[in-house]
């Protein structure tokens, strides 16, 4: 059906302008308010109780973020998140092709299997297999953490890339094949470029899930694999609010930047937001 964009300037539900502006301000304030103390604490030297503004500001938070331990944890977090994103995209590309392009028996079961790990948080599941990680020497290793983080990211990547494959016009591939290109050459020179926007989005979002993951890293990493969320959790437990806030900012910045980068592409795609609400 040839869709035409809706009629210009239809405004139906508009409430009086002043009320609307007020509610908008309230919404913005409610969304941003919890972030205010985080920002202020990260630079607060001393902030005695009744004061609304700190008595003294400090750059201790910044120093702490540049400290050796934090830098090492950042490197570990990056290493794990990049590895997880690359593996999840590779596995997801393969599975996505099956989901997006084929109709086969048991497709619904596969969809269920691929959806469940995205929705069910990992704790309940990981408790059961932790002993196996210990037994096979994967506990307390970066490899073990990468493997366990594939559980929430691979199904997510498969779902997103499955949707991308479903929108792919396979006639491009057929055209390439009739021009003499072999299957791998076709995949690399035609399919991957066509799926590139979805691949970039998937890579960024799986990176983000891994970057924010806490409990799986704790259970499998056993405190030996120290990522930023683990340091942050410890800092929140301590009484050093400045340190916690500074670390919190370090943890929160990459995800926010990534989402701002991909937001335009994701508009109108609720399935893509699904994984984000998990973090």
């Amino acid at each position: 059906m040839r869709g035409r964009t809706s009629l210009p300037g239809l405004s139906g539900l508009g409430s009086p302008r002043g009320l609307r502006a007020t509610t908008t301000v309230v919404v913005v304030a409610a969304v941003l308010l919890p972030l205010v103390p985080l920002l202020v604490w990260s630079v607060a030297g001393t902030w005695r109780y009744p004061d609304v503004v700190p008595g003294r500001f400090t750059r201790r938070g910044l120093d702490l973020v540049l400290d050796g331990e934090v830098v090492a944890a950042t490197a570990t977090s990056l290493l794990i998140a990049v590895t997880v994103a690359v593996l999840a995209c590779a596995i997801g590309l393969s599975a996505g092709r099956a989901i997006g392009l084929y109709r086969f028996r048991g497709r619904r079961l596969v969809q269920f299997l691929l959806l469940a790990p995205v929705i069910v948080p990992g704790l309940a599941v990981t408790l059961g297999i932790q002993v196996f990680f210990v037994r096979y020497g994967l506990a307390d290793t970066v490899l073990g953490v990468v493997l366990v983080q594939l559980m929430p990211t691979v199904p997510y990547a498969a779902t997103l890339l499955g949707a991308a494959y479903a929108n792919l016009d396979v006639d491009y591939e057929r055209q390439a094949r009739t021009l003499g290109s072999g299957p791998w050459r076709t995949f690399l020179t035609v399919t991957v470029p066509l799926l590139r926007p979805a691949l970039v989005t998937t890579a960024l979002l799986t990176f983000l899930i891994s970057w924010s993951e806490y409990v799986l890293t704790l259970l499998i990493g056993g405190g030996q694999v120290t990522t930023l969320p683990l340091l942050l959790f410890a800092a929140i437990g301590s009484s050093d609010r400045t340190a916690a806030a500074a670390l919190g900012l370090l943890v929160v910045l990459p995800p926010v930047v990534i989402v701002l980068l991909v937001a335009r592409r994701l508009r109108g795609r609720d399935d893509a937001w699904m994984g984000l609400a998990r973090g």
Partner: protein
């Protein structure tokens, strides 16, 4: 390359590939890496949790089948308190996030849609761990709200402020889930309010439906399926996530995921089957919600045909 000159070349090659892997098995082959990951870690994890809750102890050679762990768990008043707390947190967080999310979406679609949508989307990216930190700094007895209250002369001191974090009711946990998940529901609802929905509202309008009637008979029924699906996700997450209740709740009663980990980390290995029983209960709860989600989504897609 010579094949591009011979017209039959590519076809021959295609047949060769088909002969290598039968067409029927291709999806299975393509899916296998993902299925291995999900099968080993997820299905294996759930199965192991169930088996270990029933008395099996891998690598210790002991398998003493019994439902003792479940009996002990359900008999424990602490567990029942946890279950009550968990359900309360799930119901209140989901309800608040859904109502507020839809309300915000209805507001945002008319007014400053671009910037406000971006704001909501960036809140989505905040990890729950950081969200818990923020809510703690905001609502604790010496937190930002308490300071604002003191500044306005409404609060005498930290001890005078309401206990909103690490409290028995779970307000801090509910606040964090609501703050993080209402934008999620709003983003889903906004995605559902397509130009087509707007056109249907215009059609209702020329048929004589006023603002309220349009909202209740056109807009809300049309966005209900995806919004309901989003709510199910929120509920499932609130039921099974660990770090937020661990940081913003009490250690007793704690929500089920916290109890599961507490028992898992108990030095007494005999408590471990109970940890697995709790983990199984959480998994069953979440998977029930996943099934509800899938039902909703399939109903939605049938409608859009």
């Amino acid at each position: 390359m010579s094949q591009s000159v011979v017209p039959t070349g590519p076809t021959t090659r295609q047949h060769a590939v088909r002969r290598g892997v039968p067409e029927r098995l291709r999806p299975l082959l393509l899916l296998s890496p993902a299925l291995v990951v999900v099968g080993v870690f997820f299905v294996g994890g759930v199965a192991q949790a169930v088996l270990q809750s029933l008395g099996r102890q891998p690598f210790l050679g002991e398998t003493d089948w019994s439902v003792e762990a479940y009996r002990a768990t359900f008999a424990d008043p602490a567990f029942r308190a946890s279950l009550t707390l968990t359900l309360r947190v799930v119901v209140l967080s989901t309800g608040l996030a859904t109502v507020l999310g839809v309300a915000v979406a209805l507001l945002v679609r008319r007014h400053a849609r671009g910037p406000l949508t971006t704001l909501l989307q960036s809140t989505l990216a905040v990890p729950h761990l950081v969200g818990a930190l923020c809510i703690g700094l905001l609502l604790s007895p010496s937190g930002f709200v308490s300071r604002l209250g003191a500044g306005a002369g409404l609060v005498d001191g930290p001890q005078d402020f309401w206990v909103l974090t690490n409290d028995a009711f779970g307000w801090g946990i509910i606040a964090e889930y609501t703050w993080k998940e209402a934008p999620f529901v709003a983003v889903v609802a906004l995605a559902a309010m397509t130009p087509h929905v707007r056109d249907l509202e215009a059609a209702a309008r020329v048929l004589g439906a006023g603002r309220w009637r349009r909202l209740t008979t056109v807009t809300l029924p049309l966005i209900a399926p995806p919004v309901a699906a989003a709510s199910v996700l929120v509920a499932s997450f609130a039921a099974a996530s660990y770090e937020v209740p661990r940081l913003l709740g009490q250690s007793f009663p704690a929500t089920l995921p916290v109890v599961a980990l507490q028992r898992y980390q108990d030095t007494d290995l005999l408590v471990r089957p109970q940890a697995m029983a709790v983990a199984t209960i959480i998994a069953v709860l979440s998977l029930t919600l996943v099934a509800a989600y899938l039902t909703l989504v399939s109903r939605l897609s049938r409608r859009s045909l």
